[in-house]
Symmetry: D2
Subunit: 145 residues, 4 copies
Amino acid sequence: MTDALTTKPFRWPVRVYWEDTDAGGIVFYANYLKFFERARTEWLRHLGVGQQRLREEVGGMFVVTDTALRYHRPARLDDLLVVTAAITESGRASITIAQTASLQGLDGRPDTLLCEGSIRIGWVDAADLRPQRLPPAIRLALGLT
Amino acid sequence: MTDALTTKPFRWPVRVYWEDTDAGGIVFYANYLKFFERARTEWLRHLGVGQQRLREEVGGMFVVTDTALRYHRPARLDDLLVVTAAITESGRASITIAQTASLQGLDGRPDTLLCEGSIRIGWVDAADLRPQRLPPAIRLALGLT
Amino acid sequence: MTDALTTKPFRWPVRVYWEDTDAGGIVFYANYLKFFERARTEWLRHLGVGQQRLREEVGGMFVVTDTALRYHRPARLDDLLVVTAAITESGRASITIAQTASLQGLDGRPDTLLCEGSIRIGWVDAADLRPQRLPPAIRLALGLT
Amino acid sequence: MTDALTTKPFRWPVRVYWEDTDAGGIVFYANYLKFFERARTEWLRHLGVGQQRLREEVGGMFVVTDTALRYHRPARLDDLLVVTAAITESGRASITIAQTASLQGLDGRPDTLLCEGSIRIGWVDAADLRPQRLPPAIRLALGLT
């Protein structure tokens, strides 16, 4: 039986542009939250979960409730990163996703971990932002039983 | 007679933080649009125009329709800038605002112009984003006859 | 004979994520400058021009000196945009690039223009930011004679 | 005896602009890291620690090594926030700072906590980004013994 907690992490490439860097010559640390979200969004899309559509049809949306990031090494302009996403926990109204950003290894060399973190997202009513149970369609798409 | 086209430009201080810089060691050029908007927002607030409130009460909002910026000199981390805003044109549904960002001169020395531009904003219905005539309350606050 | 001024524009896909939107429910206008730069960077990379490498090897970099954008229609969360870049003018130390962002047409329908603009970039010494003549390697890569 | 661990948190006002919001109508969660950094920077400046100057004179800079944020309630356009910063731990090459962002209470009412977190920053050589002992001038300014 396959389920979300045992499958391989989803992988998404992210290129570093000028907009991502700061005067330290490296990627501004807050931007890893953006990279992580792009990967989560593409992972959801890959599983058939369109956020804009869900908001229009179900009136709900994901909000981030907790983030915890650890920065190991810096990324620089033009670097090609690989960002992963994998569910580590799920509740009635929220899921927790483990994410990493690594420098893609060239010529068969392994990737180099740059940043890793944990993001907890909750499902809320789009109008009043109150927590709601995850819609069955999302639970199904995510492989949550 | 006082009117918007003859009064002194509004001035607003903006400090440069890490978030504003890029790997060139200078302020990322797109961020001057943010600095300009902060000054426009504070200038509107100063004139009694609250955008969030207007959206709730009148159902309209400003959208930017044209921007033109020229970059003269770079700003760097920790620099203290002065951003100005002054109306240069107004129509039924839009106004054009001249803006500058300068490095604040210390000890009585003059400011140094870093970036100047022109921003055209239109008033739209918040729901369908269609152009609307500027509400009388805004015309009055801006000194437009 | 092919040259930069006659070839088709370079095209680069850009997906709209949460980070790109604002409380108006649409893409924040300043972010089109980021989208345009991603396309310029990928276009340069496609032509063999790596900016980080050039900075290390030649000690120079591009800086943006002028931007002019016109916003036609808004983009929204999850939209897939196509961003183009094509040289329209070139001088000794600068080039001007025409750019557009369009909503990608589905099922063979045409793209819908959302934003168009003109970006002038100059080549400068990375240390003192003074204008420099465009290096021959870049002129060659860009098809400038 | 006064020291950094017992003094009141530093407070810094942050206004919410369009640039800070997302299509959910609220402040984009990654931007609290920016708000927190603005407050840390102003707190350091208040203590006499100028980051740009330190980088030029000492060749070192702070880098963020860990962030952990919890989001309690959303902030919206035009909200006036109060951001705090206070040291909770210090080591040879790093310090940990507890930070909060709250909606400023009007008319004497208490502030409402929106987001709280912990940021660990390390002192590194600006050239190779290797960890360095905190310079005595910084330890002194921060009240670390």
